[in-house]
């Protein structure tokens, strides 16, 4: 329990309306979107609106030895914002101003609570785009996506969050404010702090302001879908598209289980006997260039025995995308719960990975539908399970362990975009080795000597 002196100090710092202490309110900050991880109901929830207030909270927490759990919208898929003790949750949802959109330097300066979709709606007014587009972008905050280094459908061509952070302001675990970077395209002053803090999952500093890079929004696009009789043909198509030097904005794959489930659920006219489908969109600022790329993709599809369908109108494009959007909702209908993973492999290995997932599903008698970002090797094997079936849950744990094993053997990684958090911490050593774990621990201790910030996440201190 937090003592009343601490709570009162928080209230005088933030005002009563920005401090939650009722049990019922606190319960609603004890989870994110990650199933089956340990969690605790926090002792208080705080809503700062300025950097000074964040600084004040950090100082208070240090003084009272209270752990801090920073939180955006709580859509994380690895447990990043989930409290593990009766510490405080700092919610950034009320610190949500877009401070500036600089249409000449092509930057946006924002507070951490700005929602990704809101930022995109604002910059779209100037013909600009902030490309990272995680599935949760309608609610996810910039602060959260910076902390998790989130990706999205456009990752293959446009990169992920870290490619768009030009500078930031943080409150360090020791209470100091630290600013780095700015609006310059080039900046090699000191260490690459963007690389250090983006993706640090709230363990090294609390983001209070971010300068983001914007790009001109592509004016033209062309979408198509292609069906394949074998996984190999689909996989070869992915490789050949890149080999033809076309980088599509999106290159998504769905396996047969997903296709059948989607068709059964949404009746969008997918052939249920297809082994896989690819959904491809090329975009750009020149009409001819986009047409030319679409033509190349089409040739590759045909060469690999795929059956393509091109969207000629916006309406047709929407109906193609309806299939992709229906993937998760449809799979979610099959069983009471879904568990979504994001093991990632080099794109030349996606066929091996898809086949391995299918074998693991068979071995453990589980239903798995796989879809995801084929172009960047970031697959989402989705387990459909019943949490009340204890035996099935045990088999699920084993299957997940094996999926990570295979991904690493294929030269891949534990997480393409969801982060490590609580959920994947135990696998970390398999990828980084003892020396890697040691580097992480040293970094954490150097910046957060008292382990105040998001303790228990990302860094396996106990190893």
């Amino acid at each position: 329990m937090l003592n009343s002196a601490f709570i009162n100090a928080c209230i005088s710092l933030l005002g009563e309306e920005n401090v939650l202490t009722k049990e019922a309110e606190l319960i609603t900050y004890s989870y994110d979107a990650t199933p089956g991880i340990p969690r605790e109901i926090p002792g208080a929830v705080l809503f700062p609106q300025t950097t000074e207030q964040v600084q004040g909270i950090v100082k208070l927490c240090r003084q009272h030895k209270v752990p801090i759990y920073p939180r955006g919208a709580g859509t994380c898929l690895s447990g990043g914002p989930v409290p593990l003790s009766k510490g405080v949750v700092i919610s950034f949802q009320r610190m949500n101003k877009i401070l500036e959109i600089d249409t000449d330097n092509l930057t946006a300066t924002v507070q951490p609570g700005v929602v990704v979709a809101t930022l995109n709606a604002e910059v779209a007014k100037y013909g600009l785009l902030y490309p990272p587009d995680p599935g949760s972008m309608a609610v996810a905050t910039i602060g959260g996506t910076v902390a998790e280094n989130s990706g999205g459908l456009r990752g293959l061509k446009y990169g992920v969050t870290k490619h768009y952070v030009m500078g930031m302001e943080l409150v360090l675990p020791t209470g100091e404010v630290f600013r780095f970077g700015g609006k310059t395209v080039k900046n090699v002053t000191a260490y690459d702090f963007t690389g250090l803090f983006v993706g640090s999952e709230g363990t090294l500093g609390i983001v209070t302001e971010v300068i983001l890079k914007l790009i001109p929004a592509p004016k033209y696009r062309k979408s198509m879908i292609a069906f394949f009789d074998t996984l190999e043909d689909a996989g070869q198509t992915v490789t050949d598209i890149i080999r033809a030097h076309v980088i599509p904005a999106t290159l998504e794959i769905m396996d047969n289980v997903t296709i059948r489930t989607v068709e059964n659920f949404a009746k969008v006219g997918l052939p249920t006997d297809a082994a896989a489908l690819l959904l491809i969109e090329v975009d750009g600022n020149g009409k001819d260039g986009v047409e030319e790329e679409a033509q190349k993709v089409l040739e590759v599809i045909q060469k690999n025995k795929g059956r393509p369908k091109i969207a000629e109108t916006d309406q047709e494009r929407d109906s193609l995308w309806a299939a992709r959007r229906a993937a998760l909702p449809a799979l979610a209908q099959v069983k009471p719960a879904t568990v979504l993973e994001d093991a990632t492999v080099p794109r030349t290995k996606i066929v091996d990975m898809l086949k391995a997932v299918q074998e693991i599903a068979k071995k453990y008698n589980l239903t798995i539908g796989t879809f995801g970002h084929a172009g960047d090797g970031n697959l989402h094997p989705t387990f459909m399970v019943d949490p009340m079936d204890k035996d099935e849950m045990t088999r699920l744990d084993k299957a997940i362990d094996e999926i990570f094993d295979v991904a690493l053997k294929l030269g891949g990684t534990l997480s393409g975009e969801h982060g490590i958090g609580i959920a994947k911490k135990k696998y970390l050593k398999n990828e980084l080795g003892s020396s890697g774990i040691e580097v992480m621990k040293r970094l954490k201790k150097a910046l957060d000597p008292e382990n105040t910030l998001n303790p228990g996440k990302l860094v396996p201190m106990e190893d």
Binding site: T28, A138, P387
Partner: protein
């Protein structure tokens, strides 16, 4: 243990389990938009429901948070896993009120609703004496007198509500209104608001039905649809009311049931089958009649041959989507088509026509601050269209929007869509 989620906790738990806690509901929840805290959104209510069913919490704060929801169903449209949030929130409220009781004011109001003849007599007596409590604020508008202000935060100097009609709609018309060559027979389910507060809308709907050659039944035996008691978790009383209505439909056996109130329509079409889950006789009846229920605009355009109005109505109109019409009955193009069928009428869309107005039945009295915040952004949107009329299809929205025009000085009249169509028909002759 019954075989539905209202009586069986295990079944309710299974419904809760479907939520992945992805948080997509946050993007569309009007209460979250106003309060900016997690407890507002659907996944939080579900997490609270889980904690409650596990026996981890049961207190006044929990009750307060579970009731802090407009049941607008916006989250259900945004939900990627098809969580049946309406069923869940009714189930949780049902269990909570059984566990903890409900405030006496609500008890009294709902006791009244479920005793239709007393309710009817009471309201009629009140219509003659309302001046004691409510002062005149314009034609057919009233406001609580100063001494009532202590009763609720919402009852300030800017609060207005429609006057209780001196004669209820169903008392002023025949139970059967025939036409020479009927296309079909429709039972006009008036609902309480049209009957007692807006009888002129009842007149307009009747005129439109007659003009389109519909034989109309307006049985006096119809009672409250049950929505008000249902959303407060009183499923037993809601079932009583629903049974009366369903039995009446069985007896009169019309081709269609037509409503002019989005909430009544939603109850008949969507909630009746839901609350009778497991009761084979009434579940079947509810499903059968649900098929025949239409809101008045989709009835005109989809069920019968619609007579387009010929006279002009030179008006700039914006349309507000009632949540229960768009998100529950899935009707949003038809009211717009009806408006556009009126010559001279110009439809100007708001930026967010389907954003909730913040009424939520009695929500606007129980949670006045949040409700007014939601209403304020709605009214700003209305204002930006510069429309002369904001049209909608739900009496509860009309009350809320009507108050909004006064409170936030918006120069637009609030009208039912059908009242505009009726006006155009009247101008023909």
């Amino acid at each position: 243990m019954g075989n539905n989620s209202f009586e069986n906790d295990e079944l309710l738990k299974r419904e809760l389990m479907r939520c992945m806690k992805c948080g997509n509901c946050m993007a569309v929840c009007p209460v979250y938009g106003a309060e900016v805290k997690e407890s507002a959104v659907a996944r939080a209510k579900i997490a609270l429901g889980e904690a409650y069913l596990e026996g981890k919490i049961k207190d006044k704060d929990l009750m307060n948070l579970i009731y802090n929801c407009l049941v607008c169903k916006s989250c259900m449209l945004a939900c990627p896993s098809g969580v049946k949030y309406d069923k869940i929130i009714l189930g949780l409220r049902h269990k909570l009120t059984k566990d903890m009781g409900k405030p006496w004011v609500k008890k009294l109001a709902f006791w009244n609703l479920t005793h239709p003849s007393l309710f009817d007599k009471g309201l009629k007596a009140f219509s003659k004496t309302q001046g004691i409590f409510l002062e005149k604020r314009g034609p057919r508008l009233r406001a609580p007198r100063a001494f009532l202000r202590t009763f609720g935060k919402r009852f300030d100097k800017d609060f207005v509500l429609p006057e209780l009609a001196s004669k209820a709609f169903r008392d002023s018309v025949n139970e059967v209104v025939d036409v020479p060559k009927p296309q079909a027979t429709a039972l006009f389910f008036t609902g309480c608001s049209i009957n007692y507060l807006y009888p002129e809308i009842g007149e307009d709907i009747l005129l439109v039905l007659k003009k389109n050659d519909i034989k109309t039944l307006i049985p006096k035996g119809q009672n409250c649809c049950g929505m008000p008691v249902m959303v407060h978790g009183d499923i037993e009383k809601a079932k009583e009311l629903a049974k009366n209505n369903l039995d009446l439909f069985e007896r009169l056996n019309p081709d269609y049931i037509v409503t002019g109130c989005a909430s009544c329509g939603s109850a008949l079409k969507h909630e009746y089958p839901l609350i009778f889950e497991g009761d084979i006789e009434y579940e079947n009846k509810a499903k059968k009649w649900a098929e025949k229920v239409h809101d008045i605009t989709s009835f005109l355009l989809k069920a019968i041959e619609f007579k387009k109005p010929k006279a002009e109505l030179k008006l700039k109109v914006t349309y507000h989507d009632p949540c229960h019409l768009k998100k529950s009955m899935k009707v949003w193009t038809e009211p717009r088509e009806i408006l556009k069928s009126i010559p001279g009428l110009q439809l100007i869309e708001m930026k967010m026509p389907d954003a909730c107005c913040g009424s939520g039945g009695s929500y606007h009295l129980a949670y006045p601050d949040t409700s007014l915040k939601i209403l304020r952004s709605k009214m700003e949107d209305v204002k930006s269209t510069q429309a002369e009329v904001v049209a909608t299809e739900c009496p509860a929205c009309m009350m809320q929007l009507g108050e909004g025009t006064q409170r936030y000085k918006v120069n637009a009249k609030v009208k039912h869509v059908i009242s505009l169509l009726a006006e155009a028909y009247r101008r023909e002759s």
